[in-house]
């Protein structure tokens, strides 16, 4: 276990409510205020110079940092057991800034094929224009990552609980490949949240979240976060010049030498965020922060409900299969017991008998579940990928992506589970 996992004397529930927050110094306000401002005054030119030169910490401009955002960052860093965090406009922005700090044109990284579809597009299409090349591996086979290693590999990327089917990944084994190769191990922990899995404890060097999902949890704000585990030695080689070499836009400061075990989070902020600009709004930071206060309660309920719904569907005459890692006959059951004994999350897929037409009929007939393309909301959500998110793919591609004609994905909410089951039953019977 990584030493950084023990970064607090407090329990997870306490950290969810309190970490990073304190009464407002000026007003005594107990809830974290929304600091809806673009800029902050300097005491004098010397103060301004020391802030711009990174010689003191302080607020300059909300594109680089904001006091409401800072509470959110410390909260997530504490929950993940990291040294520091940076909140940004979306999960996609978090990925962009992470790779921008690591990659130069012509470099490669290895990613699991089993990812959120938006990440597959970002890595496979958008990143091409930056000259960053993704090599795909199979998340169920750690050795497939080793086979993709080359002298240009700069990182390995996986999801802890992976899309689309909610499969649980052998994080530690893939992390061992990254460690041997001397590259940072990046884990997207969106579907698990630190309540279920803390990737730092399994060898992750960088943790990424879409805060939009279970962390925020209420389907009202887009946001993302990068957590620095503080575990990677950026100065061991010259492979990561943005971290190890003198920085021309900060008078020759070396980020790793100066900021030690939070160098990655600082680099993403003072270079990536400063120069590329995907800042989170203070209002979204406030809503996400409020959501996180109830994370443990919600995740417990999400997991309980999801397990009950999965069990019910696995016995349903109109359902041919259910892919949920917390069912004893699921191929991921063993990994789920190891990595997330508290529950296997709330996103899973199942197959309806009758194929494409039956899938369409189901999503058109539900009355409580919402038909939309998100996960991790208090509300139960449902989507038929073949007719929506994966519509543009060929039948073969759809099946390879786990989005065959009969596949339905659900994200189970925190309503009464009997109501969720009753709604699915009536829609399947319709």
């Amino acid at each position: 276990m990584n030493i950084h996992s023990k970064l607090s004397d407090y329990g997870f529930n306490t950290l969810s409510v309190h970490a990073g927050a304190a009464p407002d110094p000026t007003t005594g306000a107990r809830a974290t205020p929304i600091y809806q401002t673009t800029s902050y005054v300097f005491d004098d030119t010397d103060h301004a110079a020391s802030l711009f030169g990174l010689q003191s910490f302080g607020n300059i401009y909300t594109r680089i940092g904001n006091p409401t955002q800072a509470v959110l960052e410390e909260r997530v860093a504490a929950l993940e057991g990291g040294t520091a965090a940076l909140a940004v406009a979306s999960g996609h922005a978090a990925q962009m800034l992470t790779f921008q700090a690591l990659m130069m044109p012509g470099d490669e990284f290895i990613a699991a094929r089993q990812l959120y579809g938006g990440s597959v597009n970002q890595f496979g299409q958008a990143f091409k224009s930056f000259g960053w090349n993704v090599k795909w591996a199979d998340a169920r086979d750690p050795e497939s990552f080793r086979r993709q290693l080359s002298s240009k590999t700069k990182a390995i990327f996986i999801e802890s609980i992976a899309n689309p089917g909610g499969i649980v990944i052998d994080i530690e084994s893939i992390g061992a490949v990254a460690k041997e190769a001397g590259v940072p191990f990046i884990v997207d922990n969106t579907l698990a949240t630190p309540y279920l899995i803390r990737p730092v404890e399994w060898g992750a060097d960088i943790i990424i979240h879409s805060l939009t999902k279970f962390l925020g949890g209420h389907g009202n704000s887009i946001g993302g976060v990068i957590v620095d585990a503080g575990s990677f030695d950026w100065s061991r080689t010259k492979k990561y010049p943005m971290l190890s070499e003198p920085c021309p836009s900060y008078h020759g400061i070396k980020m790793h030498e100066t900021f030690g075990d939070m160098a990655f989070a600082i680099t993403c902020r003072v270079l990536g965020l400063r120069d590329l600009g995907p800042a989170i709004s203070p209002f979204n930071a406030f809503l996400l922060l409020t959501g996180i206060e109830t994370l443990p309660l919600r995740m417990q309920k999400h997991c309980e409900n999801a397990k009950a719904v999965a069990q019910h569907l696995s016995r349903h005459a109109k359902v041919s299969w259910v892919s949920y890692a917390n069912l004893p006959n699921d191929p991921c059951y063993g990994l789920a017991q190891t990595y997330c004994p508290k529950g296997a999350g709330a996103v899973f897929t199942f197959g309806v008998r009758g194929g494409y037409e039956a899938g369409v009929k189901l999503v058109n007939n539900v009355k409580l579940l919402s038909h939309l393309a998100n996960v991790g909301d208090t509300r139960s959500l449902i989507i038929h990928p073949a007719s929506t998110t994966h519509r543009q793919l060929s039948d073969e591609q759809k099946s390879a992506a786990g989005a065959g004609p009969e596949v339905v994905r659900v994200s189970i909410g925190i309503e009464d589970v009997s109501d969720i089951i009753a709604d699915l039953d009536q829609a399947l019977a319709a």
Binding site: S8, Y10, P25, N59, A70, P246, Y250, H251
Partner: protein, 176 residues
Amino acid sequence: MPEYSDETIKSVLGSVKTVAIVGVSDKESRASHFVMKYMQGKGYRMIPINPQLAGQTLLGEKVYPDLKSIPEKVDMVDIFRNSEAAGVLSDEAIAIGAKVVWMQLGVVNDAAAARAEKAGLTVIMDRCPKMEYSRFSGEFGWVGRNSRIIDNRRKQLGAGRASLARDAIGRGKGTL
């Protein structure tokens, strides 16, 4: 990484006033330079030690070639040198009557630490006083640092050393 309680580190930062900073650079981009500047801003008297710069003035203070040349009382010696060099410097800190030896991030010398502790000094290794000060004063939170501190009272952000010294120590687990 050696472990120190929050109370120990806070007690050091709240009690020392004059700090000799050994190995300080005159280059603005070096951590030693801006640690000195930062600590000055918080009300500490910083005395720079660097044989190459001896006799010059750095951030308003005269630079001395070594610890024993300092003509006044020093509370703490902050060491920006490698772990081996830190051994001799720690012994010199004992000789000049300092109360605290502080070795910077990455600097650890267990034998020297044992000698200093035996002589009654407090020793902190592999830490940065600027980072620790920022952690206790709440400034660290401004850059999303996991401070490991939960506090139910409002504090004066960016406050000087006097306020740190005034704070009651040992109000309970993790509080300031």
